[in-house]
Amino acid sequence: TSQVQRGLEKLTPAQVERKVTAEVVQFILVKDQKKFPIRRADLIRVVLKEYKNIYPEVMKRAARTFEQVFGLRLMEIDPKNHLYILQNNLEPVGAASPVISKTGLLWVILSVIFMKGGVVRESVIWNILKKLRVQPGEKHSEFGEVKKVVTEEFVRQRYLEYVRVPHTEPLEHDFCWGQRAVAEVSKAKILEFMAELHQQDPKSWSQQYREAQASSPRAGTSSQR
């Protein structure tokens, strides 16, 4: 590494920034493979190391690269813990890309939470999933260990929050939307699909309709407070 360091000393600050930016972009793409949020602490520890003083400039450049080259937006979803995700700037169009069937499972859970006002007891979700032939205790042909996918993977990805309900014996949990879901999922489109399923006017769910109107299209997500 000392050789690398000596090599870097010969570079101009602009060149260092470009190199570090490329590595940051690469790091974020690798971490995004599993859709887990990227921690600022990891970025500094693994990529920036002794260049951590140029962190703000590098992040600005990385965000610009994601926007200009990939059509993606680098977003801080958790300003307290400094967690970042990549979000798509392009409208979904249902192109040739392969289907990820977990999206269907996630959709069911997120829409039930949304339709029921934002918080849903875990047992309600499992009762619904059971009717859809998904058993929490069994290995599903499509999703594998469903209980793990829902309460661990989706939670780690920040699609869901899995919150302990106080004073319950045995212990119970509530589900609500995670920060990634808030940033990535359109309530208006969920309601639209819901209306299609029920052959009903989306406005007939007046409360959800109002909420969907207020939250779309991704109002206020661009600012990184």
Binding site: A22, E23, Q68, V69, G71, N88, A95, A96, S97
Partner: protein, 236 residues
């Protein structure tokens, strides 16, 4: 000099991230689709220029959309590949260490095979000699399925070959590791696995099956383009 990227380029790149490899025909259709989706002019037959624009921005990020021929169909294909190797790229978690080791062994078996094809038994046997972590038969079979699903290998009636995606992305790796074993196709000058070999022991050149079909088309007496001996194989 190079063109600026627009949303049509970005959508094309995003789709390539999703499906990793497309045929030339699919790429043409996707190019058209992306232009129409973002109201930009679609110029027929300018797909390669369009991709060049994307590649100029990907190059500093160690990525590339690379073009190459499918050894099965002879069709031109495009794959999105990673071009670098570092501590960061090794953080990729799609496959465990022993799975990666078995994948490398599979490449080695294909390189060492005459026909560019190996059987699942060949792979299962080599799974016994993994140094990282042993793999059960069922685990090996599952891994093979996954490698096929992720388009790193092709499977046909129990025989495995390297996919176009694999050949395009692992090109440098294969050359580094098996410099004196791999041969290039005498016609297209790309690395050749599924191919025919000249019978003349002093010659022994390789030609991809689709390249054989192309070069010997309508020839009554096919001859080796290098040594001039009769080409004894069946023309596909």
């Amino acid at each position: 000099m190079s063109q600026q990227m627009g949303d049509s380029h970005r959508r094309f790149l995003q789709t390539m991230m999703g499906c990793a490899v497309v045929t030339g025909r699919e790429a043409d259709a996707l190019y058209r689709f992306c232009c129409e989706a973002h109201n930009t002019q679609h110029v027929p037959h300018k797909l390669d220029d369009f991709i060049k624009t994307i590649n100029s921005k990907l190059q500093p990020l160690f990525m590339e959309i690379r073009k190459g021929m499918s050894e099965d169909s002879g069709e031109q294909c495009y794959a999105l590949i990673n071009t670098s190797q570092s501590d960061i790229t090794r953080m990729s978690s799609d496959y465990a260490d022993n799975e990666l080791e078995l994948f490398r062994k599979t490449i080695e078996l294909v390189v060492g095979s005459e026909s560019g094809k190996i059987s699942s038994t060949d792979v299962l046997n080599s799974a016994d000699s993994l140094t990282t972590k042993k793999m059960k038969k069922s685990e090996t079979e599952q891994l093979l399925n996954r490698l096929v699903h992720d388009k790193w290998l092709n499977e046909n009636q129990g025989e495995y070959t390297l996919s176009t995606r694999c050949i395009l992305e692992m090109d440098q790796y294969i050359h580094t590791m098996y410099e004196d074993q791999v041969k290039k196709c005498q016609i297209c000058h790309h690395i050749a696995f599924q191919c025919q070999i000249c019978d003349n022991p002093a010659c022994g050149i390789k030609i991809h099956n689709p390249c054989v079909a192309r070069v010997f088309k309508e020839k009554t007496e096919p001859k080796c383009p290098t040594c001039g001996d009769f080409w004894p194989h069946e023309i596909p």
